[in-house]
């Protein structure tokens, strides 16, 4: 087309570009709609089934841009050929055919024709993108709605949930102990390993042994804590006794001997505390004393300072153990205080009839208790039992009223007896004595 006037060639180039844009806008929207719908479906599936994909779902908005790649390839295949551009240009300029003729014959003698000037001033076809792009709106809305859906967490396996339930309480206990500095890092690591072992075992199979393993671990933790508390008590008492003995021994030689004995007891108690890791946060002087690197001070002033320091430290530790009472509840232990006896007339089941059974052990979701086990440091303490209770004979209800005198020969079975006596007395005899709600069960039993 080099023989055509420059202005005409320029107009043709502009028209070719406009046509290329038009072809793209024809081709791309269906692809974009398809990609958006596909992205919407992917988003929907990920929202429902693949929680891990949630962070990358926003990238699905790029789907229409990706769809532009095949659309562009298709546009290249469907691009207008030069002769088609010429024909459209000629048609748009009035259909005179001169442009087509000049292109085919490569003639320049007509270059000055007014018809060609009209083609040079060819009004470009108007782009109407909204007409085609409007089909994107529903697809965009679909993807938007799919992305707006809340991410659904994958339902965990029932075993895993149960396994978590088995160890949750214990895990919380360990965290609480750590918060209160009542366990050493070594103990914590060991407990974590044990906990993981129980969890793993429970996730494979949950049965009574899983709960028992968790309970055993709880018991062990509780025992350890009780041991530390005992050691603390021991240390406090030893300190008090040593202080009293030291004060008495200041003026009495016999008292000095006693003070030495109490001092040795105190050292043992401190060693015990150190073994249990309770002195990890203690002042350096106390640690040295517990390690035996420093002897107990002999002078009153030093002794008083030591007593003060030790008392302060033990007091702090005691406060921590005071918080442990709540921890004990978390262990699921039975606390009699939660079930107070009413002036000694009510039993543990709340119906004032100990041994009568019942379901009044608290709410259904309350932790089960297994008796009145004492905490380790409360062992062997006397516990008042609830008063006994004699049942009222009027509470008894006859099941069967046998006519006549009792037989001397016991029946071989209740069924046989019922048959024997029912045949003679008629069915009215036992019907009178049974509550209506029990009749069907009894009838079924005797009709076997």
């Amino acid at each position: 087309m080099d023989h055509l006037p420059v202005a005409v060639r320029s107009a043709l180039r502009r028209l070719a570009r406009r046509l290329a844009v038009g072809v793209f806008l024809d081709v791309w929207p269906p692809w974009a709609v398809g990609s958006l719908l596909l992205a919407g479906v992917v988003a929907l599936v990920c929202r429902l089934l693949v929680p891990a994909a949630a962070p990358v779902l926003a990238w699905l908005w790029l789907a229409p841009i990706l769809a532009a790649l095949p659309a562009l390839a298709l546009c290249a295949l469907r691009a207008y050929r030069p002769e088609q551009v010429l024909a459209i240009a000629d048609s748009l300029s009035g259909g005179h055919g001169l442009l087509l003729a000049l292109a085919e014959r490569r003639d320049t003698s007509w270059s000055a024709s007014p018809l060609l000037e009209r083609i040079a001033a060819l009004p470009m076809p108007r782009l109407q993108p909204l007409r085609r792009l409007s089909i994107l709106v529903p697809a965009l809305a679909f993807l938007w709605a799919a992305l707006l859906l809340p991410q659904r967490e994958a339902p965990r396996a029932a075993q895993a949930v149960l396994a978590d339930q088995v160890v949750n309480e214990l895990a919380a206990t360990i965290v609480a102990l750590k918060t209160n500095d009542l366990i050493t890092p070594e103990e914590e690591k060991k407990l974590e390993e044990e906990l993981e072992r129980v969890r793993k075992s429970a996730s494979e199979r949950v049965d009574s042994s899983s709960w028992e393993a968790a309970d055993a671990l709880k018991e062990r933790v509780a025992a350890d804590v009780a041991e530390k508390r005992d050691a603390l008590k021991w240390a406090q008492e030893s300190l008090a006794r040593y202080a009293a003995a030291a004060q008495a021994g200041a003026n009495d030689p016999a008292g000095e001997v006693a003070a030495a004995g109490e001092g040795a007891e105190l050292m043992k108690a401190l060693s015990k505390l150190a073994e249990s890791g309770m002195l990890s946060n203690a002042p350096a002087s106390l640690k040295a004393l517990a390690a035996g690197r420093v002897a107990l001070p002999a002078d009153a002033e030093s002794l008083r300072r030591l007593q003060s320091t030790l008392a302060e430290f033990l007091g702090e530790q005691s406060e921590k153990f005071g918080d442990l009472a709540a921890l004990g509840k978390e262990f699921g232990r039975f606390d009699p205080a939660e079930f107070p006896l009413e002036s000694g007339s009510t039993g543990f089941d709340g119906d004032a009839n100990p041994g009568n059974g019942g379901v009044s052990r608290g709410r259904a979701d309350a932790p089960l208790t297994w008796g009145r086990e004492a905490l380790p440091f409360d062992r062997f303490k006397a516990q008042p039992l609830p008063p006994g209770h004699v049942r009222n004979p009027d509470d008894w209800a006859p099941m069967v009223v046998m006519p006549g005198t009792p037989s001397e020969q016991p029946q071989s079975s209740a069924t046989g007896a019922a048959r024997t006596y029912a045949a003679g007395a008629g069915q009215e005899a036992w019907r009178r004595t049974l509550a209506p709600r029990h009749q069907s069960a009894v009838r079924k039993y005797f009709e076997k």
């Binding site: 002769e83 259909g95 055919g97 014959r105």
Partner: protein, 344 residues
């Protein structure tokens, strides 16, 4: 087939041809007032060497147009008034037994068909046998009688007229014969200003005297110029698609064609459009055919070639209306604008 390496006719050649045609058209317009389009169509068909069927009510200047054409072209002119008792030999001529030099022999006496421009007035009043006598003459431009074939003088044109009313005792032209007319030109009535002009300029309705404006060799040059008019491939494609769409079985045919057309145009229709549009292009001073010329000549070239069914008559559809529907539905370019683009 034109060579693609050939150049177009020079602007000067085309301008000369257009001037010659302009003189002819000018003379015809002096005689027939207010019928510019009809005159253009007749001249285009003449330049394409096609036969024309003029249809219109009496008194609209059909015969006068042909007579004016013959005078302006200084061609041989004969007129046959078709009547029911007209015989084929009255057209083609016949052998008459004559005695010459003591011998009796059959001598051929040429009929009125042996001329350049034949006016077949009220052609539908003759019997089909007589109408058929024109078939060979129109298509082959020769006449065969008594086993002897005689060439008709060149150029040879048949300008037939017919009256669309007073159909009693007439014989409608068969489709085969209609197909041999390049154009069927419908002549409509004149408007009031034209009537006033006629009254003011024509005493007793006599047309002004005409002088020949084109010698036979000028006409030959014009024919050569018409043949040299270039038809671009896209325009040829448009003609082909138009004609193909005139068949109701075509996938591209519009609803009107599928509903009202029984048989579409023959390939002769496409040839007629191509030839006539070349003539029309030269008439307009163009070295090539454009879509515009095709649209201009489509109706007179195609309308009489469509065989309409009775539904069309009941619904008031005629050939021209169907062609208009065709032109509306078939795009000029095979591949139009994308959907997102609209022409301004």
């Amino acid at each position: 087939m034109p060579n693609e390496s050939e150049t177009l006719q020079s602007p000067g050649t085309v301008a000369d041809a257009q001037a010659s045609i302009g003189r002819l058209v000018g003379e015809l317009r002096r005689v027939i007032l207010g019928k510019e389009q009809t005159i253009d169509e007749v001249v285009a068909a003449l330049l394409a060497r096609g036969h024309v069927l003029l249809e219109g009510l009496p008194g609209l200047g059909k015969t006068e147009l042909v007579k004016a054409l013959s005078r302006a072209l200084s061609l041989g002119f004969r007129r046959i008034q078709f009547t029911p008792d007209l015989l084929p030999t009255d057209i083609t001529g016949s052998h008459i037994l004559q005695e010459r030099d003591g011998r009796k022999d059959f001598t051929f006496h040429p009929g009125p068909v042996f001329t350049n421009l034949l006016l077949a007035d009220e052609i539908n009043r003759a019997s089909p046998k007589t109408q058929a006598a024109l078939l060979e003459a129109m298509q082959e431009r020769r006449v065969t009688t008594f086993g002897e074939t005689r060439e008709l003088p060149a150029p040879f044109f048949v300008m037939a007229t017919q009256n669309p009313i007073e159909l009693e005792g007439t014989y409608p032209l068969p489709e085969a014969q209609l197909d041999r007319f390049m154009f069927k030109v419908e002549i409509s009535g004149v408007e009031r200003p034209v009537l006033e002009e006629i009254l003011l300029t024509r005493v007793h309705g006599e047309p002004p005297a005409l002088e020949p404006v084109l010698a036979p060799h000028d006409l030959g040059a014009l024919f050569a110029a018409v043949d040299a008019v270039h038809m671009p491939r896209a325009v040829a494609s448009y003609i082909a698609r138009l004609v193909a769409a005139s068949h109701p079985s075509s996938a591209e045919s519009p609803e009107a064609v599928r509903t009202f057309v029984k048989y579409g145009s023959s390939p002769r229709g496409a040839i007629a459009i191509g030839a006539a549009s070349r003539g029309m292009a030269l008439l307009r001073g163009k070295p090539n055919v454009g879509f515009d010329e095709v649209r201009r000549v489509a109706a007179p070239a195609l309308a009489h070639r469509l065989v309409l069914d009775y539904a069309a008559k009941l619904e008031g559809w005629d050939g021209r209306r169907v062609v208009a529907a065709l032109l509306e539905s078939v795009p000029e370019v095979e591949r139009g604008l994308p959907q997102t683009l609209a022409a301004r």
